[in-house]
Symmetry: C2
């Protein structure tokens, strides 16, 4: 039987990522992994979740917790998010919030909502690998979003050819993979550009709560509300997640945006998976209400120390010609090597000799460029191991430069 | 801002269902609802889930339960399903199983996997409303799958026009909405037809475990394996769910099929939501291992009594000219009224005067026909209330017939 005859054309864009396949092999305990961008499980509020799940399963609550529920999401959780968005400068109501199964699902639904085959998505060069994966199913073209250049809206529109530019996607705080934060002026410029192009803005805020230094910058959505007076007049769609703050294994995230967008997303979600897990939404609501701020403060202390350790180790061990970002939060540092070095080759070498893992940077570029870049995550490794891993990596890169 | 300019064309197919909107209004306690096809929450194994979640959140297990996990699904749960599929006559391995967020998500992913715009999906007339909703996002045509006719494969192929027939979708046991079961000869005929057309078969087995009388019929997938020797040579894709047996609120279902299909679905899932909730998969595995059979036996006893009560009440209270199915399991009975009656109008009347809810049948027809049909669910109402509700409904229909 020839399944390729039956699979839809979109599957040609949905190939196994060599990186993800490689990372599956990294479970060996002697590997020092800076690869996955995942939270440290020792920091999960497991006891609080144990109590929250237990409370959801009492005779009074179980009929709600285990039953089907509405596609929009669990009311008390949406209310908590309304409060949190308000604190971020985004006044809104429950009708502006959809609960999704992690913010990855929000990206899938936003692609489904807006992209027809041949439409253009503006994305960073590099950008979040999982965003490209989600959007690919809807067969877009990609163009490079770079608000720091003076490229005109007309030029973006013209480059879209037969399709239409539909949205600009970006992670604004301590972005995956670069760790960079978009400054206030650039946030405003993105709104200008989106207004001129009449497109949506997808603001991926997965790391937003994890700031270790410096002043918080208000979200793009908050800035647009200042200009336009009401979230329902805004084109920015904010994607939040509990995966980096409370726990990813429950798969709970949210979308916050204009009611017209949310109500159409609700229809897409209803058709695609009915709703996100009822009991998980209840447990997240309980834990968030009780200790979101104190828990986030605790994990920030731990991650900040790891970031500092990695920055210090890079300073000590990296040879001349290597540069890196200095993130104010998040989980990632981005390295640029001299252009003749290929980080994918270095990874293969590293796994053989140094036993240090990272993600080669080209996977984050829609055009596969950036072969001399790499992403390092500091979130899951303690300081002493970070020092050792970066020392080994520095040795490997120095040897490659001398070869 | 004109969002309609930005939304992709597929959204024109994703409209709010008048039925679902109506059903949202039915939460009033004085309504007798035969509308939703949902389990009775009093039958949920809440205590077992409480223990299972608690066990997943001990210090030894929490780092797994709360963390990201692989897109394929939790190994021990896939292993349990392998055993269950084996008992159903489907020998397979872990690589033939993908865990999804309910079988609704399986339908979405299968549409995404196979349907390009203009391709044809063969479906029952009527069929599961949620399958039409899931597939609509991929802009198919629908054609009527009716294995009881002698319609030729060539005729199906020709009717597909510029597109291609991609799959036949059907619920074979106590189908939603009709309650009907496809007999053995018809199951074999569907395989013949699929072989001739070179298409996939989607076997929706959401209600498969809920048989109250008669001999179980082996799944279409099991029959195809008998013919072809190996699941990996089969075109049937089986969709299972824990929503009707253990609990829907956890959103756990599965797909069982050829490895080539499963591995592509894994890529689609990775891009769409990374994976289903880790902790929920663990809890389902624990409860299924401990008490799947005994729990299913318990709920079957309860639902069987309700089916019997509804059939008896229909016999007593329905006027001449109304006919209905006699399901051997599941949750639904399907009524056909004289053709001049419109069940949607009856629902509006019923909610005003009799306070009984049901689902008008036209929602289950891809072409909106079947306006004289209705779906009644007996799963959530106890026997005395069923008798009262059917008495009221019989009165309403009798009055409409006399009018």
């Amino acid at each position: 039987m020839d399944w390729q005859q039956i699979f839809a054309a979109r599957n040609e864009r949905m190939k196994a990522s060599e990186i993800r396949e490689l990372l599956k092999l990294l479970e060996q305990p002697d590997i020092i992994s800076f690869a996955g961008g995942i939270p440290d499980p020792d920091l999960f509020p497991a006891k609080a979740f144990q109590e929250a799940f237990s409370a959801a399963l009492t005779p009074e609550m179980q009929a709600t917790a285990l039953q089907y529920s509405v596609s929009e999401g669990y009311g008390p959780l949406r209310d908590w998010i309304v409060g949190e968005m308000g604190r971020l400068g985004v006044p809104c109501t429950r009708d502006n919030i959809l609960i999704t199964s992690g913010s990855q699902q929000a990206l899938d639904y936003l692609g489904k909502l807006m992209l027809s085959a041949g439409d253009t998505a503006l994305v960073g060069w590099p950008t979040y690998l999982g965003a490209l994966g989600a959007f690919n199913a809807y067969e877009p073209r990609y163009d490079r979003l770079d608000p720091e250049t003076n490229r005109s809206a007309a030029d973006y529109a013209e480059a879209a050819g037969d399709g239409r530019v539909k949205f600009a996607y970006m992670s604004v705080d301590f972005a995956n993979p670069t760790g960079k934060t978009l400054d206030a002026a650039m946030r405003e410029r993105v709104i200008d550009l989106a207004d001129e192009l009449d497109i949506a803005v997808i603001e991926d805020a997965a790391y937003q709560s994890l700031r270790y230094e410096g002043e918080a910058l208000s979200p793009v959505l908050a800035r647009e509300i200042v200009r336009k007076g009401d979230i329902n007049a805004c084109r920015t769609i904010y994607c939040g997640s509990f995966s980096k703050t409370l726990a990813p294994g429950l798969r709970v995230g949210w979308v916050c945006g204009a009611q017209e967008v949310i109500s159409q997303l609700v229809l897409l979600k209803q058709a695609a998976d009915l709703h996100s897990s009822t009991i998980n939404q209840m447990a997240i609501a309980t834990v968030a209400q009780a200790q979101f701020d104190s828990h986030v403060a605790k994990i920030k202390t731990a991650y900040r120390a790891r970031r500092d350790a990695m920055l210090a180790a890079l300073q000590t061990h990296m040879p001349d010609g290597v540069s890196w970002t200095r993130p104010e939060g998040g989980m990632f540092i981005w390295l640029e090597l001299p252009t003749h070095l290929r980080s994918a080759d270095l990874l293969a070498q590293s796994l053989r000799s140094e036993r240090v893992a990272f993600v080669p940077g080209h996977a984050f570029f829609a055009d596969g460029s950036g072969t001399n870049t790499m992403r390092l995550s500091f979130s899951r490794t303690d300081e002493a191991v970070i020092e050792e891993g970066i020392a080994r990596l520095g040795r490997l890169i120095a040897a490659a430069l001398e070869a």
